[in-house]
């Protein structure tokens, strides 16, 4: 792992940990979680991690591959992944361009995509100028 990959990994961790902390305090987020069921594997360069949604509960595992993911999100280019997790690149556009590859249940990724909107409220302090 080099410094660039390390930083992208932390960006991913902020997203994954963010869902965990938001789920503890945000009732709307908790209600949304009730409708999500599945395992989302992320392959980002050499980074492996997965998010698990099950019966309204959420957890995540770093540095491991899920045995039987419902969907796998693949970002092969680490520089593109940096832009993706910093919000510079839109997920839909990334998918259309092929920079983000999705294998498996596309509907699940769309549902989970809606969760990302919550992150903005809780991570807005990272971009205080906005």
């Amino acid at each position: 792992m080099d410094k660039n990959e390390f930083q992208v990994k932390l960006m991913f961790y902020i997203m994954a940990k963010g869902y965990e902390e938001i789920a503890k305090v945000d009732e709307e987020f908790q209600e949304d979680l009730e409708d999500i069921d599945g395992i989302v594997q992320w392959n980002i360069g050499n980074i492996r991690a997965y998010l698990k949604f099950e019966e309204g509960k959420y957890s995540f595992v770093m540095d491991e591959e899920a045995d039987d993911p419902d969907v796998t999100m693949i970002l092969e280019d680490i520089d593109f992944a940096r832009k993706f997790f910093s919000g510079e690149e839109d997920a839909t556009a990334a998918y259309m361009s092929g920079d983000l590859k999705i294998e498996g249940n596309l509907q699940l990724t769309m549902t989970i995509g809606s969760l990302a909107e919550y992150l903005g409220d809780y991570l807005k302090f990272l971009r205080p100028e906005e």
Binding site: K3, L10, M11, G18, V25, S86, Y122, L123, F125, L126
Partner: protein, 125 residues
């Protein structure tokens, strides 16, 4: 202080603990220094947030709550921690506003976060 700020601090403090272990995987010198430590570092942020980091046998683990026998306790106001984690304030500039149980120990262990900071440089864009 808002719920958003508290959640933000919890996310970022969790990330920092994770980052220590990740840097150790990249930096042999840093990993060797961690292996020599047997520490329980307690953080108290504002009135509501408490977590601690155990560093032992080269492993780094983070836990929510209050440790029984911390070797170092750092207390910081929530608003200052938001400034620190958002990059609005240099951590060094906040030291004078922190309550630190053992200044010598804090100096001895300062390399832990200093090195993580070096690896995180440029992360914000």
């Amino acid at each position: 202080m808002s719920t958003e700020e508290k959640v933000f601090v919890k996310i970022m403090s969790g990330m920092m603990t994770y980052a220590i272990g990740q840097v150790a995987q990249m930096d042999e010198d840093y990993a060797n220094k961690l292996k020599a430590l047997d520490e329980v570092i307690q953080y108290k942020i504002g009135d509501d947030i408490a977590y601690y980091t155990i560093i032992k046998d080269g492993k780094v683990e983070g836990f929510e709550g209050t440790a029984d026998n911390p070797t170092l306790v750092n207390e910081i106001a929530l608003e200052d921690s938001v400034k620190m984690f958002s990059g609005q304030a240099d951590p060094a500039s906040l030291v004078s506003k922190m309550k630190i149980s053992d200044a010598n120990k804090a100096l001895e262990l300062a390399f832990i976060m200093t090195k993580v900071g070096e690896y995180m440089e440029g992360m914000g864009g």
